[in-house]
């Protein structure tokens, strides 16, 4: 393949990374503050996609706008979920059996409700934008949707950063992430902060879900492949770091995209260059995960001497 084609792929990978980041960031903040591995995250992604889908079909609201609308709606939804379920969980500094099973159970319920509401055929959001692309030369063609989605994702990440650093809520969240006990001593209401955090996490899941819904066709069990990717990304990012997530997203996206096109030498009746068969592509995220766990458990962040707590 020619250099230009590689460039084309690289661009696509970076655009993909944008969505990946938006998708994983919600999970990071929830884990950071509450030490809960939110398996229901996948369910929220799926609901986000359907949310945009419904808005688009019923009221012809552009899915991008739909995604933005998803933020407040899912924020409230998340707080509700926290109030009804999550707050009863025992506190712990590592993920507990109870929290895992609870969130997982909730994911199952979400899936089933979606199934009851929308059936299991694959829906997708078809806008004029969907099929058009920006062409540079005759090899490079960037789908417009991906551009829009990327822009939206980056925008929201920036907003999140501002929330983190400028707002009282952001400060207390960071406090809780860095030192739960200390934070409570200086008077951070951790129940309240947890509730808000869970809301925030859910909001971002819904938002990302809506964006993903513009890129892929979706059904009630839409979330799982993305859940796994989110895991890989947050582990890459060191679990509690937003900037780490951005980094992790890029690494994953690039690796996924190039894994099947870059030939590598392999011994099979003599040394030859081989491609990774595309059918093995879904293994890449997991392989990456294991690699990171073995080499640098603290995530990419550990490459830098100062640990990237949410900052």
């Amino acid at each position: 393949m020619s250099a230009v084609e590689y460039l084309d792929l690289l661009l696509k990978a970076l655009l993909l990374a944008g969505v990946y980041a938006a998708m994983a960031v919600g999970m990071t903040v929830v884990y950071g503050v509450m030490k809960i591995v939110n398996l229901a995250h996948a369910g929220f992604l799926m609901l986000g996609a359907y949310f945009a889908f419904e808005l688009f079909n019923r009221f012809h609201i552009d899915p991008v706008l739909g995604a933005v609308l998803a933020l407040p709606v899912f924020f409230l939804f998340g707080m509700l979920v926290h109030w009804v379920l999550v707050r009863w969980l025992p506190k712990s500094d590592t993920p507990t059996l109870a929290s895992l099973l609870l969130m997982f159970g909730f994911w199952l319920v979400l899936q089933n409700l979606a199934y009851a509401k929308w059936g299991n055929d694959d829906q997708s959001i078809f806008t004029p934008l969907t099929l058009s692309a920006v062409h540079i030369g005759d090899t490079i063609s960037i789908p417009k949707v991906n551009l829009v989605v990327f822009a939206a994702a980056v925008f929201c990440m920036v907003v999140l950063q501002i929330v983190f650093h400028r707002s009282w809520f952001g400060r207390s969240m960071r406090a809780l992430i860095q030192n739960p006990y200390g934070a409570q001593i200086v008077g951070v209401d951790d129940q309240r902060t947890s509730r808000l955090t869970f809301g925030l996490g859910t909001a971002f899941a819904g938002f990302a879900g809506a964006l993903l819904g513009m890129l892929y066709s979706f059904s009630p069990d839409f979330g799982r492949p993305f859940l796994l990717r989110s895991f890989v990304i947050i582990v890459l990012g060191g679990l509690e770091s937003v900037s780490g997530v951005a980094l992790g997203a890029i690494v994953l996206a690039v690796l996924e995209t190039f894994s099947t096109v870059v030939p590598f030498p392999w011994y099979w009746h003599g040394w030859k260059m081989y491609h990774l068969p595309p059918s093995y592509q879904p293994v890449v995220p997991f392989a990456l995960l294991v690699l990171v766990l073995v080499i640098m458990p603290k995530g990419l962040a550990s490459l830098f001497n100062r640990k990237w707590k949410t900052a």
Binding site: V37, T94, L100, L108, V109, N112, L113, S279, P297
Partner: protein
């Protein structure tokens, strides 16, 4: 907690220990009374799932390490058994081989993750299921996504499968009991509560987890092998499916995490639910399991086997059995044409 057996002091104590075993043993005699194919099938499935569930329970219940990845061991057991039988070995050798491979696999997951604190293990278990399924889908020697078929020359004998499964459960229960009642079990419970404190009295959490994970994997592998041999055909999208891992996890959670007989009860309930409720309301089986999970976590963390309500109810039922009055009622209830009808379509 029932996960340790106090030396029985009185009649009641002895009953608690002996009765379950006696009834389990009596299942071996059941076919003599009634060997109806459907019943054999259901009890076989119950036994297989309970075995896997008991395996999960050793890790999840005793050592407190949640794994969503037991499908991997189930599948490994299935494939290893199949391949060994294909190579002309006895199925029973196959089961052992399956257990061995499953144990080996468990180390690959455990070694990198158990050393770390935090969610790494559970994340890895979810990842590994997906990864292994995809790899098996593409592996030619095992027929890839097209699956693998076991063909035995001798005619199919449901009873043999049935007995194998029942014995497997007995084995699993035995293993659980032994572990729960020696120092290892004690150490696992300590790790579950406070890893550092456990280390401070000389328990090595890392190796302990590795070993219990391996034992659990082994039992699940055996279950997989037994299942595969009877099914005759299986493929990665089935034995390695995420859902399979979930089912294995549901069983002890429903029955009673960390208890010895809980997973067995869980297996029974699970199969009954599968066969009746979720067969009748397929569209809601995720909902059923999801809410069951949440309910148990929030209301009955001990699982049904430790739920006072349930067992007072059954106590009442027992009186009936003793006085013999409710046999009819009971069977009237269970011999429900309801269940049979569920499958028919009314014209």
């Amino acid at each position: 907690m029932e996960d340790r057996m106090k030396a029985p002091r009185n009649l009641s104590g002895w009953l608690r220990v002996i009765l379950p075993w006696a009834l389990l043993a009596s299942l071996l005699l059941l076919p003599a009374v009634d060997s109806n194919a459907n019943l054999m099938r259901l009890l076989f499935l119950t036994a297989v799932y309970s075995t896997a569930g008991l395996g999960w329970n050793l890790l999840g219940g005793m050592a407190g390490q949640v794994s969503f990845g037991f499908a991997v061991f189930f599948g490994m057991g299935a494939y290893t058994t199949a391949l060994l039988m294909h190579a002309g070995h006895s199925p029973y050798f196959g089961f052992i081989g399956g257990a061995a491979i499953a144990m080996l696999a468990s180390f690959f997951i455990g070694l990198p993750t158990f050393r770390l604190r935090g969610p790494y293990f559970v994340i890895a278990t979810i990842g590994v299921t997906e990864a292994v399924r995809v790899i098996m889908n593409n592996l030619d020697i095992t027929g890839g996504a097209s699956g693998y078929r076991i063909s035995e020359d001798k005619p199919f004998n449901p009873l043999e499968h049935y007995y194998t499964a029942i014995i497997a459960v007995a084995l699993a229960v035995l293993v659980s009991t032994i572990i729960a009642n020696n120092k290892f079990g004690l150490a696992l419970r300590a790790i579950k509560q406070d890893q550092d404190a456990a280390a401070a009295v000389g328990v090595n959490p890392y190796t302990s987890k590795l070993w219990i994970h391996a034992i659990a994997a082994g039992l699940t592998g055996i279950a997989g092998g037994i299942y595969a041999r009877r099914a005759g055909f299986f493929y990665p999208g089935d034995v390695f499916a995420f859902q399979t891992g979930i089912n294995i996890l549901l069983i002890p959670v429903i029955g009673g995490i960390g208890t010895i007989w809980g997973p067995v009860l869980g297996g029974v309930i699970f199969i009954i639910v599968e066969e009746t409720i979720s067969a009748k309301y397929q569209d809601f089986h995720l909902l059923i399991y999801g809410s069951l999970l949440m309910l148990i976590v929030l209301v009955e963390p001990g699982g049904l086997i430790q739920s006072k309500r349930l067992w007072i109810m059954l106590g009442k039922l027992l009186i009936g059995l003793f006085t013999g009055t409710t046999w009819k009622a009971l069977f009237g209830m269970l011999r429900g044409r309801r269940f049979a009808k569920a499958q028919h379509i009314e014209e």
